[in-house]
């Protein structure tokens, strides 16, 4: 499991626009680099990121090799209700890592 940093306010007012910052440890190997033996290092990137808010998708990203290693993505959403935000990263092998954070809306 890769290390993940997620920054979002623990509490927010109803209707407030909150910024969510996410970062996951990943090499984002482009597939264009050549290894020490002269063969190309196979591509291995996170190609998909999804954020859901109480089950409803609020943000999605498709990533390409031009995204830097340890992909950082920041975006906004409106705090509508208390509940959980789930963050999922999917890599080229189809493996998905999901992290969940709670938010209290008052």
């Amino acid at each position: 499991m890769a290390r993940v940093l997620i920054n979002l306010p623990a509490r927010a007012k109803r209707g407030e626009v909150i910024e969510i910052k996410t970062l996951i440890a990943h090499p984002m190997e482009t597939g264009y680099r050549v290894g020490p033996t002269g063969t190309a290092i196979p591509r291995d990137i996170i190609n998909r990121f999804v954020c859901t808010y109480n089950g409803a998708e609020v943000f999605r990203a498709e990533l390409f090799p031009a995204i830097a290693a340890n992909p950082f993505i920041a975006f906004f959403t409106v705090a509508t209700e208390s509940g959980e935000l789930a963050f999922s990263w999917t890599d080229d092998h189809g493996e998905t890592q999901t992290e969940v954070r709670q938010i209290t809306v008052e």
Binding site: I41, A66, I67, A68, F76
Partner: protein, 155 residues
Amino acid sequence: MDAGPQSASPTRRLILLAAAGFGLTSLAAPADATSAAMEEAIRALVGEAAINHGKVKLELPPIVENGNTVPLTVSVESPMTEADHVASIHVFNEKNPQPYVAAFYLEPRAGKAAVSARIRLADSQRVMAIARLGDGSFWSDSADVIVTLAACAEG
């Protein structure tokens, strides 16, 4: 420049002016050319639709030391309501091996149409952001970046 005839050193001034002019033209030259691959990728996205200028703001540092991690922010002027919102934001580049950088899909409930990420740039080049609005129109902005140490595409 109002270099008077009695100016102390007209030759020096002319040399500086020429140097400045040369610098400007050498910067402006790549801005006119959009690479074929980028053009193709953009056409695949927008089809025959017109791309308008405005609304979108693409923020990138004008000069970066390390192309391996370049901070990028795209923001779009939009009220983000059901009737008028940004559906997606697409980022393209000119000289990386692949023209596509990323695509971000937003919902009206995003509240604010802005995303940030860190990207790789293999060379000094132009980066373009295109936003697709809920009504199907496209808006764009572009920025030129000078990269002193390129992302290690070759290893």
